[in-house]
Symmetry: none
Subunit: 376 residues, 2 copies
């Protein structure tokens, strides 16, 4: 074509500045594919890079069943240095591709998120928030040697400290959050059930598929309808599916053809929301479950206090860790209540009472105080 040779007139067609392939999955190495994209062309990036999990042996549940670990080759790196080099490379390309007003989201766990966060800062990105995805249903810690790993971390960053004009739909988020300011901690279930992509064998198609609710929160917070969202680690295509549903454009990069095919089929099946519907998904009310340890921790009852039942037949001592001691037996308020009565089970909140000026009162009253305070 004649005008092709007169390249200067049509910058978008020059090899050095090709058009952005919209609503497309690019199959290939993330960094190589990013290099082909035009600079300053993307409004939002969501990246779910390899976590560099360093798993030792097998892990079994208490029932001896084997945990299906993420041991894929793409998650293996020689060293922290190798992981850091990889991280810098893709972050650098992402920064080139981002519009001046664009922002980046990265998700990770403690295995990799500190590397990613440091690299971000070193490259000049400006962190706007770290956001915690709290899982309602995380995998438990089967050996009881650590805290249940119940969250992952997202970093939200602008191209630089001087970046202005990035999108943050504050009013909409606030309206969708019972008129409270959107917070940096989000409660969202993991991806399971019908949402989880399955292969022909009925097994999960991708080991680390993210929930659509998480991506929806990100896109609704930090992009506008019609914006271009880039996902350099496209995987099962959650970003693309949610982008299509919410009226955003997407560009995905994925190395694995099987993942890319599964993602494409998934996205093809997505029906975009109506323009009117692309509003806020109201935040889920959080379950106000209260632990007795919290009651003690907050000083509502003193460690060393004595509790009794309504008829003063039993007496137990409150311990600093929120357990009760009945003689030499230590356990939860419920367990110790059961032991005291010789019963199978017991609701400790209503069984145990404390002395007050007005007589005995169930410790449930303390729980109400915690709930009232946390709600305010």
């Amino acid at each position: 074509m004649a005008f092709r040779r007169n390249g200067a007139a049509l910058a978008a067609e020059r090899p050095s500045a090709p058009a952005l392939p919209l609503d497309t999955i690019l199959i290939g190495d993330c960094i190589a594919e990013l290099e082909k994209l035009p600079p300053a062309s993307v409004d939002l990036v969501f990246a779910d890079p390899p976590y560099n999990l360093q798993l030792q042996g097998d892990l079994r549940r208490p029932d001896q069943s084997l945990v299906d670990a993420v041991d894929d080759a793409w998650d293996q790196f020689e060293s922290f240095a190798a992981y850091d080099a990889f991280t810098r490379a893709w972050l650098l390309q992402v920064r080139r591709v981002l519009k001046p007003t664009g922002t980046l989201w990265v998700i990770g766990s403690y295995h990799n998120i500190f590397r990613v966060g440091s690299a971000l800062q070193d490259l000049g990105y400006w962190i706007l928030n770290d956001v915690v995805w709290r899982k309602t249903n995380p995998m438990p810690n089967f050996r009881g040697r650590r805290f249940t790993n119940a969250h992952e971390t997202l970093i939200w960053a602008a191209r630089g400290a001087d970046a202005k004009g990035y999108t943050f739909n504050y009013e909409a988020l606030k309206a969708g959050n019972e008129d409270l300011q959107p917070r940096s901690d989000w409660l969202i279930p993991i991806c399971s059930g019908g949402e989880r992509l399955k292969g022909d064998d009925g097994r999960k198609a991708h080991p680390t598929q993210k929930p659509e609710a998480l991506l929806a929160r990100v896109l609704l917070a930090a992009s506008k309808p019609g914006d271009v969202v880039l996902d350099p680690f496209f995987g099962s295509g959650t970003t693309g599916a949610v982008a299509k549903r919410l009226g955003r454009r997407f560009v995905g990069v994925e190395r694995d053809r099987d993942y890319a095919a599964a993602a494409q089929a998934r996205i093809d099946a997505v029906a975009p929301d109506s323009a009117a519907a692309i509003a806020q998904a109201p935040a889920k009310r959080e379950a106000p479950r209260v632990a007795f340890a919290t009651v003690v921790e907050r000083g509502l009852i003193q460690a060393g206090s004595r509790l009794t039942d309504a008829r003063r037949r039993h007496e137990a001592v409150v311990r600093a860790d929120g357990t009760l001691a009945l003689g030499s037996v230590v356990g939860s308020i419920h367990r110790i209540g059961a032991v005291a009565q010789g019963a199978e089970a017991c609701n400790g909140w209503t069984f145990w009472h404390m002395e007050t000026a007005a007589g005995l009162a169930p410790i449930d009253a303390l729980r109400e105080i915690v709930r009232a305070g946390d709600a305010a």
Copy 2:
């Protein structure tokens, strides 16, 4: 003093191995003071280091020169480098001072926690968890351009990947949490009201005083009564106050004499909890070992008795030497339990049951009888 010269006889008095100054605030530069402490002498470290270059005006390079305020990317990198060097220096000293079974907690925000986490990993620490402190009452985001910063991050790390035997009071934490295993997200109010230290002018004595509930959770989770807790950035002394209350020993390092004085006064006013309130809760894994042979020896079960599992699917015979026979296979209660189920491993004490008047009962009950008898 004569015996001082004969240093070899009293290693604890040699300069190279001074005694640990317990329940003391050391006034001076954190790194210099840590260097004076004996190696492998501390059970737990809680560190609340200066958060960041942008907000703290007093960040200094290792040579004590002041880091200038930052605007351009290079200076920013410069100051990150200075912060990283400072971080590595104190982390290195902390690692030296930690016992092999000791663990470290560090708290930070997105301004510094990624630097700290990376440095930790680079120095060989092994991250056990990252923990999110969710604030019930965070400072609102006034400009509405970001998410309300409603959390801070703690990193819990062991000295290395091979570090075993660190303290984690799993059972007590679980009992204090409605019998659910403790998670990596903690909901705790910020420090305010009467707990907040005030100066003579009625203003807050320290800008980043941490809530005692947070420290209590850390100490109750990862230390035992009598353990030594080191805080290299002592500040308002929350670590010391909580350590004293919970029956732990503390060592604090603080550069600012005013902070140290306020902390000392605060700690002096703390009344320790009663012994009953803080006594180490008995953990199953620390209960004395009992051999099944002992159970048989003491006549608690007869050789030749038949054991079965809870669903009566398998049957094994008790042998006089304390082994079990399943058909022609002979082995420990655990091994035979595993063989019966075709499993890798099995806890024979809970798997195997015996017939009693009240129905099937796990043979663990017999172990309890042995333990009770031995304790008496």
